[in-house]
């Protein structure tokens, strides 16, 4: 079965640079979530989209922005990168925003800021 696809899987950037992560949800899933997992930490919710509209916002820095496109894929844009942004970024998807629907996670994108 198709899963959530994230690209790139690994990314190395320098401080103050910009990075873009892409996420392709499971086919027919219209809801996308972004999570950030720092070293030794639990995943922290950043932002979510339902039907191409932002549906919920968590602890996403102002330097970050995201959107969901007409084909339901999503992109997370991170600017003015800081060392503390080094983390594993998960994208996840579900069929609608209904809480009872299972959220499926991608394999994550590793961002290292040097």
């Amino acid at each position: 079965a198709a899963g959530v696809i994230q690209s790139p899987r690994h990314l190395i950037k320098e401080k103050r640079e910009t990075a873009t992560l892409k996420c392709y949800p499971i086919p027919r899933h219209d809801t996308v979530y972004w999570y950030q997992q720092g070293p030794g930490q639990d995943p922290q919710f950043l932002i979510s989209f339902y039907e191409k509209m932002q549906s919920d916002k968590g602890s996403i820095p102002d330097r970050f922005s995201a959107q969901q496109f007409s084909d339901y894929h999503s992109e997370l844009n991170m600017s003015s990168l800081e060392l503390g942004d080094s983390a594993l970024y998960f994208c996840a998807s579900s069929l609608t925003w209904f809480s009872g629907n299972t959220i499926y996670f991608g394999e994550g994108s590793w961002l290292t800021v040097v």
Partner: protein
């Protein structure tokens, strides 16, 4: 705000034996969903089991079962006949029914080691 607490940073179990991972949560809501996710060394988040708060019956998925105590706000995971492949970080998670506040809230995780 809802919080999820996993009080066991690390646990170990002998292969083929049973282990229980603890999870408690704090909420004022009556309807919500609880999950256990497994994160192996590959770091992928894999759903292990889920429980709807309105269901009294404890969820079971093969060797994995939960003990859901709604009044006590407790949601423990029992792994029977532990296998080497069960070694991973296990996260307990809570999801509200409220539409604009239904992001997944995770506990700090429990690292499970399985000894051969």
């Amino acid at each position: 705000a809802q919080t999820v607490t996993q009080s066991q940073p690390e646990m170990s179990v002998q292969e083929a034996e049973t282990v229980t991972l603890s999870c408690t949560y704090d909420t004022s809501e009556s309807d919500y969903y609880l999950f256990w996710y497994k994160q192996p060394p590959s770091r992928q988040m894999i759903l292990v089991i889920r429980q709807e708060a309105y269901k009294q019956q404890n969820a079971t998925e093969n060797r994995f079962s939960v003990n859901f105590q709604k009044a006590a706000k407790s949601f423990s995971l029992k792994i029977s006949d532990s296998q080497l492949g069960d070694a991973a970080m296990y996260f307990c998670a809570y999801r509200s029914e409220i539409v604009d506040n239904n992001d997944m809230r995770f506990g700090a995780g429990t690292r499970l080691t399985v000894k051969p």
